[in-house]
Symmetry: C2
Subunit: 303 residues, 2 copies
């Protein structure tokens, strides 16, 4: 793994918690509103915590976005390209400039709250295998076995807002429909945020003992689209045997789709994979029926 | 119950199956597309079957509607009010005029396909207690114990398209997120449609023996909104103990909401009710956290 160089030499000054990057993912939206109403819920000693409702207009309309997925607008080239004029391109530049004016270099950590119609449980999404984040991942996994760690390499995630920050990560919880609050998932997400903030406080106070440990990491390896006809219309659904089985092994020859006229389509890959984001509503239009990951056990070494 | 007068004296000439009244309820949308691609699936002897994708623009955008809920635009006054100019008001008039030009009096039955994020299972929604429909309800309940019968009196449902037809009813299936296909619910809905069409064919052939039987009817009795603050923002979620318990008894004093700061709110009514459409995504904006029904056993008499 990476060296954990310098890990004990920095302190976390500002954490920003983000909700409503997608306006119909209500868990994050209402957690941010709750935190803004009752700041003591997230106040900790020794560092500042900011909140952001990323796309208020999309939240008001309860839509993922108005013109373009906001969380695909943050790569550096796009932010500098003033000819990009969609509502969300402009909003991304505004958010980025606000962050800079708040002295972005002081913001050490982004926590971006998302929800999904897929059975993703409580998933921590990392886009960099930063040793500090891996220690956090080990810690969260150890106190809550429901927590899973997904790694999307930054080349596939460089348009996410969290890519703007050294310690950026997302929390992805599900299954919950778009436009719906699930009280159990809401409370679990709130609890994880609380644990993360406690961990940051303890880290700053020097009371985190980093440990060498193994971690189950699901590493993004691509996507599978639905079967489509010549007009781009889907011709099949997620197979009942695969529905809700995110993070479970899928072997070659096992069912993945059921066509509308009831033909089973099997997985044609050559090795076992671990599908995630199975049947996520927002991905139909993106040509994604599920994402595939490889599961590996990594050793996270103590600093 | 109503007299079943004339029940054996008419034949059903045309059945129209409708999907996509709400553009993000994919079960109905893709069933209609399937039926249009493979008409033999719904062809029966002795009557004609039409299909309608009600709101193609909303379907293309995977939204419930563009400007206004289409299934609230079909009351007679609104259809005659040419000053109503929303996209869906115009579309409703167009659908209505098309039906008339197809000699609407020949269309005896509308089957309107809906899906919901609530745990509604397979629900037949009636807006008139027409004896023919009650016989159908008894039959469907008898061959599939999952089928439930919801009665929304027509004064509360006179803006539904199905109110335009003597034998109009809706199928409401769930739980499934908006914008998502669930293969199991898709197949169950398809099977119910097939059974209904077989029943119509048998009825026309005179081979349906109507029987006196009891039927469990859930009768619409109003709605409950989420607790809201002075800005209209919701302050609580469906309580975990009530989530997904559609059609189950709710007694006074039992939990219905959990506020964001974790206070339980109980049901303040004076008698047992049977909530439905619990946590339906589309109803947040309508001020509906759930609908309440009264359950009663009725006697459906043989003709």
């Amino acid at each position: 793994m990476h060296e954990i160089e310098g890990m004990t030499e920095f302190l976390i000054g500002i954490v920003m918690i983000i909700g409503g990057m997608h306006g119909n993912e209500l868990t994050g939206v209402y957690l941010i509103k709750l935190f803004e109403q009752f700041p003591h819920l997230i106040e900790r000693q020794g560092f500042e915590i900011l909140t952001l409702l990323a796309n208020p207009q999309a939240i008001a309309e309860c839509r993922r976005y108005l013109e373009k997925d906001l969380n695909r607008c943050f790569n550096k080239q796009d932010l500098q390209n003033l000819t990009l004029s969609s509502f969300e391109d402009k909003l991304a530049r505004q958010i980025y400039n606000n962050l800079k004016s708040e002295n972005q270099s002081q913001i050490n950590m982004f926590v971006d709250l998302h929800s999904t119609t897929a059975n993703m449980g409580l998933t921590l999404i990392l886009i960099k295998l930063h040793p500090w984040l891996l220690q956090l991942a080990v810690y969260l996994s150890s106190i809550n076995p429901e927590v899973r760690i997904l790694y999307i390499p930054s080349h596939a995630a460089n348009s996410f807002l969290i890519s703007q920050c050294e310690l950026g990560f997302a929390l992805e919880v599900g299954p919950v429909p778009q436009g719906v609050l699930n009280a159990v998932l809401f409370q679990k997400t709130k609890e994880i945020i609380s644990v993360v903030l406690d961990y940051v406080q303890a880290f700053n106070q020097g009371s985190i003992q980093s440990k060498t440990n193994t971690l189950a990491l699901y590493e993004y390896a691509g996507t599978i689209d639905y079967p489509r006809n010549e007009h781009g219309e889907i011709q099949a659904m997620i197979h009942p045997q695969l529905q809700a089985r995110d993070f479970e092994p899928l072997n070659p020859g096992e069912p993945i789709f059921l066509t509308f006229d009831e033909e089973t389509i099997t997985y044609k890959g050559e090795s076992t994979v671990f599908p995630i984001f199975i049947n996520e509503a927002a991905y139909y239009e993106q040509g994604i029926a599920m994402c595939l990951t490889n599961k590996r056990e990594i050793v996270v070494e103590a600093s």
